[in-house]
Symmetry: C2
């Protein structure tokens, strides 16, 4: 592409396409100049035949996309039996995350549990303790919803400064899928709840060795929690909790218990490992925030970013990213190219949906100079995504979880980008 | 499950779950009876550990789901180089189709075309013929939309009566994905259109040997057609047209040209093979309907269905299926269990979206007797899906394509289902 900045996109790209790829010699001018090599190339394509596909009944990504995969960060966990994989958000677009590259965290590996062997117990303060088979679950009314699932530790390394170089690693502990399942309230009603549910909790646990037990207040359990068996239309992948996982819309991913085996109705929370020594935020005064379930509004520019540098010169540039809020729908995303001094409202690809990813775009005419790229999300509660400085003022420097601060990418004149911190 | 019909679902399933799986002995009653084998089983699960997942960075379906794959019908085409694969819609739920099991049709195999080698030419009646590289396309403003893609031949074998035994084969030439791409109108504007576009057409073709050329009226080309490079967030699979395909919302799948290489602006249609000898409907009088692009409103019950029989006795049963319209949004789906004599309005999982699949559910209390299961879609134009009889009255018996008639499954007392025709 031309390095000259043109103010009109149309004029520019016309020039740009010509400079890069040559204007097609489709008319008389081309004929006068002899065959354009690109025309020849296009004609050559007409002889391309491929394979019959039937050999791969479950289609896989083409080999050229073999780097668009989940990746882990080896030093984050001691063993692969307790590990995490990050979604390649820098390479994706739209909002749906394919299951095959959707982040997942496991504490005792990904267990293999056949539908025939699956059981879900509901016990505790219920009229009749029940055990459901998978086939039983299929007989209750189902719902479909697209929700994001974000690990509370997403962006956690960034509390200490700019640590990891790539949106996949700083913000990739998130995915967004269409879930099909039975509302938990339906199954609780089946077992029979106490007349007074206020102040009651459910304790949920999985069938893996970690059990990953979590306490959920009854109000949420009766609201929008799903006992889900499909994601993006098909069965859950093993690592996503096949055959059944809990979906806790807007709340931290650790509560979305996989291989769900038991829901106990209780008088209070269990205060389990996963909700005391983990997933709490230690403040400056040594006390800890806990029961911080909802993931606050957050956003990140996915391209350009360290793993998705600008590969062309100045001129039209699409800046894009993701925004989400565990408290509602995204209403607005602003983008700054100068580290937060000036903001421009980005375009949402679709109206924000509650507890689901929103895709935003900002098309700019890049002048080729360096940028400090940021995005700032707002949700329908009026909440505005804070800067890291604002967050640290409230939370101090001891936190690991619940970092929803504004992220900065330093985009250089070369188009390469780097994770930096601005004050 | 109990074979007795209970009028209250709650009462029934409580009894049902107890009968099948045993009520969990979580309380004093259980203790008195000794350990329930299911409790023991649940406890055994606590020792389950799995693998570390990292070995499969692009996650695949679990082995237990190995039959949820695209399938072809060998006798439909002469060679796998020109073949078709059907979506396993009987086994899916929700609305999104994962790319890995999304139907695809190819006429010259699935070709392998790297992004670096990709070129898109826009030529013909334009101010400046242009050739875009893949990187060029990424510099234009993008849109995201969920759209269904249905082959015009979907359900085509059913014109002759009940032929294929399974929703996958009768209705599986359809998928529904979130597409990201650049509006075709943007690229046409870049090349510069004639002042008067009324009556103009574009001719679109792919880079495979078949080229699969199709004519599209300019009005549609300037409306909602996308030059798409992502589906469900990630790159197109090879067999879905990697790296770039055309998305022609609501219109027959054959026009969604894969490996898109050229768009020519013309004074009229080409009347190519794919729009004359193919994809037209021969009527009783020997003349043919042509330019029948939009796929009329249609629906099908996906479960129960021949590949998804009822596996339990009488009582609560979830009837579910898909509905769509190429002319707008689905507003209502009715379900009949008696071959169309009586109809009950089904529940749409979400409000219908334009040119996208809708999921419907009807929960019934099945009395265990045989059913003639049908569904009937309505869209926001007021159109009502016709019976096969009504369709034949208009189209005769010579058609292959554009069969959107009401489908019937005969569900027997055993729960098994069969494709049948009712008059």
């Amino acid at each position: 592409m031309s390095d000259e900045l043109k103010s009109s996109r149309r004029a520019f790209l016309k020039g740009g396409a010509a400079a890069t790829a040559g204007i097609a010699a489709a008319g008389a001018a081309g004929a006068a100049e002899g065959p354009d090599p690109l025309i020849t190339e296009l004609q050559d394509w007409a002889s391309l035949t491929g394979d019959g596909v039937d050999a791969t009944p479950y289609g896989l990504p083409i080999e050229f996309e073999s780097d668009v995969i989940r990746r882990n960060v080896e030093w984050l966990t001691a063993d692969t039996i307790s590990s995490i994989n990050f979604t390649p958000i820098h390479a994706l677009d739209g909002t749906i995350t394919p299951q095959g590259c959707a982040f997942e965290r496991h504490h005792s590996g990904a267990i293999e549990l056949a539908k025939e062997d699956y059981r879900l117990m509901i016990n505790g303060l219920v009229d009749t303790p029940l055990v459901f088979t998978y086939a039983d679950l299929e007989r209750f009314p189902r719902e479909n919803h697209v929700y994001f699932c974000e690990c509370a530790a997403n962006t956690g390394m960034e509390w200490a400064g700019a640590q990891l170089n790539g949106a996949q690693f700083t913000h990739g502990m998130i995915h967004n899928m269409e879930y099909t399942g039975v509302p938990l309230r339906t199954l609780l009603a089946e077992a029979g709840l106490p007349a007074e549910t206020a102040g009651k909790w459910v304790y949920v646990e999985g069938a893996d060795a970690s059990s990953n037990g979590r306490s959920i207040p009854m109000e949420k359990a009766l609201d929008d929690v799903l006992v889900a068996f499909k994601a993006n239309g098909e069965a859950l992948r093993k690592e996503h909790g096949y055959p059944v996982r809990l979906v806790v819309p807007g709340w931290e991913g650790n509560m979305w218990v996989k291989w769900l085996r038991r829901v106990e109705v209780m008088d209070g929370p269990v205060e389990s490992r996963e909700e005391t020594s983990k997933y709490t935020d230690t403040l400056e005064d040594g006390t800890s925030r806990k029961w911080t379930w909802a993931m606050d509004a957050k956003s990140v520019v996915t391209s350009p970013s360290p793993q998705a540098p600008i590969t062309h010169g100045p001129g039209p540039l699409v800046i894009t990213g993701l925004a989400w809020s565990g408290n509602g729908a995204i209403t607005r995303v602003d983008v700054s190219t100068d580290g937060g001094m000036n903001w421009t409202q980005a375009r949402l690809a679709q109206p924000g949906q509650k507890m689901a990813l929103s895709r935003f775009y900002l098309e700019i005419d890049w002048d080729g100079s360096e940028m400090l790229l940021q995005s700032r999300a707002m949700d329908d509660t009026g909440y505005v995504q804070p800067t890291k400085e604002q967050l640290r003022e409230v939370r101090g420097l001891n936190s690991i979880y619940h970092n929803n601060c504004i992220q900065t990418w330093w985009v250089r004149e070369t188009g390469e980008a780097e994770n930096v911190e601005v004050s």
